[in-house]
């Protein structure tokens, strides 16, 4: 068993990585972690703004 990193996944929007544990004998995937690799903080950016600004800002999510 060994752990491999498939990163970047590509042909998606944004940045995603997949950590795989593969059985050496059977080549089957026995464990997986899907990792979202990007953080921008929209929920924090919106704090204390008037709600009418939200639509312009969250379009850019």
């Amino acid at each position: 068993m060994a752990t491999y990193h498939l990163d970047p996944v590509n042909r998606i929007e944004g940045h995603l990585g997949v950590e795989l544990t593969v059985d050496d004998g059977t080549s089957a995937v026995t464990d997986v972690r899907v990792k979202s690799m990007m953080y921008r903080g929209f929920e924090n950016i919106l704090y204390k703004r008037h709600q009418k600004e939200a639509i312009t800002i969250v379009q850019r999510i």
Binding site: D7, K35, R40, I45
Partner: protein, 399 residues
């Protein structure tokens, strides 16, 4: 490297037995996939940082009009929208109608640029893809490639991982900075890369006085910013400036025209196709002078020379070319959104007089309608292409 026409025709002949396509369709495929190879073309890396996907969506919709008009030299090339397609530059002096088709994203990918890396569209993934970035960071010669940067640059690597290769993580900003500082050109596409954009907006949860965040949080958020100027201040960079193409999303035709300007000014070794001395061909000095103090190209040099008029990109505030300017002059203002007066939008928060972008000269969503742009459709300019968006410029007035 691109395949040559000869190689492609040979391949198509081998496939000739499989006539899933009729002859006409096959020729179209051949035409699309086998342009005459450029004398030399700089590889391009399109690196996405903290992105929303809008710039890619917009660039996938690039549309540079039909060709067939008469230019200042009497060459018969016509263009319905005021843009000369990039392809037309292949063969100056060609006759009318001989190349009448538009420049779209497939043309750009197959003909104008040699795109080595772009997360959203590239075939490979995982280490196979990350090794390409690794190559350009560590092995490729400085000045042998161009970088287009999309998305905000985070303050720390942990906010934007880009991949994993050879036992190591790669991320933005560290690895992107290393690659960009070796590039011949650094182009920042979209407001995020140009000025910071939405992810760089004020995060109001942080209290600078106390140094803490409301609710007891102690960690910093993903403070992010634009591509720093010093990424271009090195001996490899041909312009010594980061070229910025703001608006949110980045204006696709503005990017295409800027790339064409750069390739033509730099000459055939970099993929430029106009022969030296051609009247449309800008010089490198003109290219540099065309970049304003904020890094934005003022106008499209090739087009302006070809058409004999200034084709403004970022050199003129949108107010001066706004379709509602006549109403402004008459003092007719929209009182609320959707006002059938179709008046000036100033009272609804329009930032037009202080925003320098190509929105009204080139418009948006160009193929299907000649009328798609914010102000034409009653939406006040929120300054999405201006420094300080959104904090400084977002001011919609709901009435």
């Amino acid at each position: 490297m691109r395949i040559t026409r000869r190689q492609f025709i040979k391949f198509i002949s081998a496939t000739a037995a499989a006539m899933g396509l009729n002859q006409l369709e096959l020729e179209k495929v051949a035409e699309v996939l086998a342009k005459p190879s450029a004398l030399g073309t700089l590889p391009v890396l399109w690196i996405q940082n903290q992105v929303c996907g809008g710039c890619i969506t917009a660039f996938a919709g690039v549309f540079a009009g039909e060709v067939d008009y008469t230019d200042i030299n009497g060459d018969n090339i016509y263009d319905t929208t005021g843009l000369v397609q990039a392809k037309a530059l292949n063969s100056p002096g060609y006759t009318a109608g001989s190349n009448a088709s538009s420049s779209t994203v497939d043309d750009v990918l197959l003909d104008v640029i040699d795109l080595k890396f772009m997360n959203v569209i590239m075939g490979p993934a995982g280490e196979l893809a990350a090794s390409i970035l690794d190559y350009y960071e560590n092995t490729a010669a400085g000045g042998s490639f161009v970088v287009i940067i999309d998305g905000t640059i985070p303050s720390e690597d942990k906010y934007c991982g880009l991949g994993y290769v050879a036992g190591q993580e790669i991320a933005s900003p560290s690895n992107v900075e290393a690659i960009a500082k070796k590039a011949a050109l650094v182009i920042a596409y979209g407001t995020c890369a140009s000025f910071g954009g939405v992810p760089a907006a004020m995060n109001r949860k942080y209290d600078a006085v106390s140094g803490r965040y409301e609710g007891g949080m102690t960690t910093t958020a993903a403070f992010a910013g634009p591509v720093p100027d010093d990424w271009a201040a090195n001996s490899y960079n041909l312009l010594q400036k980061v070229v910025r193409i703001p608006t949110c999303p980045g204006h696709p035709e503005a990017l295409l025209l800027t790339v064409v300007d750069a390739l033509e000014a730099l000459g055939s070794a970099y993929g430029g196709r106009l022969p030296s001395g051609h009247p449309w061909k800008p010089t490198v000095a003109e290219l540099v002078a065309n970049i304003d103090s904020l890094g934005r190209p003022k106008k499209s040099l090739v087009l302006s020379k070809a058409l004999g008029v200034n084709v403004w990109l970022y050199g003129q505030p949108i107010h001066l070319a706004c379709p509602r300017l006549p109403k402004y002059n008459l003092g007719v203002f929209d009182r609320y959104f959707g006002d059938t007066r179709q008046g000036c939008l100033q009272q609804l928060g329009c930032q037009g007089p202080s925003v320098y972008t190509p929105c009204v000269s080139l418009k948006w969503n160009r193929e299907v309608s000649s009328n798609t742009t914010c102000v034409a459709q009653g939406a006040p300019c929120v300054g999405c292409g201006a420094p300080g968006f959104p904090d400084r410029t977002l001011n919609l007035q709901y009435k």
